[in-house]
Symmetry: C2
């Protein structure tokens, strides 16, 4: 029941990018050094965030990455879903990636005790993470 390093690194990288939001771009090695993240691994993370539309990048000599949305518009939930997949603790209660469980005898949706309990957990997690913006995140430092 853990988040991956990917999410953790991703959030820490975004923290750096929040600080220069509106100003200059940050290069991968700058972020990597400040946040103590292996630079090639960080790159994959930044690319994923870019493909998801959170970051812009410029190649070449004065290149680097920058936030493309304002920190108020980005939630921790978005970031974690991009890097780690759905928040739901079992896939039959996921709202973003629902899959019915093959082997469960309580196949019918409304009567599964597991779904009831796990649904509550899912909602609680999503409620926090989907309302926690990067700006609030960065300021809680």
């Amino acid at each position: 029941m853990k988040f991956s390093k990917k999410s953790e690194y991703g959030l820490r990288a975004l923290l750096e990018l929040c600080e220069t939001y509106g100003g200059r771009v940050l290069q991968r090695h700058e972020i990597a050094e400040r946040q103590n993240i292996p630079v090639e691994f960080l790159e994959q993370i930044l690319l994923a965030l870019k493909r998801a539309g959170l970051l812009a990048s410029r190649r070449g000599v004065r290149g680097g990455y920058s936030l493309i949305k304002s920190p108020e518009e980005i939630t921790l939930g978005q970031v974690i879903r991009i890097l780690d997949g759905p928040l739901a603790p079992i896939s039959c209660v996921s709202k973003t990636a629902y899959q019915k469980c093959a082997d469960c005898p309580y196949a019918a949706k409304p009567s599964c005790p597991l779904q009831q309990a796990m649904g509550e957990v899912r909602d609680a997690i999503a409620n926090i993470l989907d309302h926690y913006t990067l700006s609030r995140f960065a300021h809680s430092k």
Copy 2:
């Protein structure tokens, strides 16, 4: 961010055991068949729950497993922690298995933004699962 099959199977097995609580014992193959769980795998799970003090077992011809505590005393949180480890989404916010993060630059505890956010998530999860008893679980069927 998922729970393992182990937890899922474990909870479903306990559901069966709740129904015969106070009455007869259930054999592994009975539970396995009703809940559609590979029997040898289920066994490992039942053993873990037994070692943790939730189940009793009897060997031999009329043997089987039974709940040793009442369904009101067992919470989903307990079960999941036994089978899946700590609930916390990152280990630096775990109350049952705290470990400080080695590489995080915000090493000092009160000022880490990640800890703040993840701590809230941990509390929300624990709040639900540590108050969700097996009896409530079984009755929500």
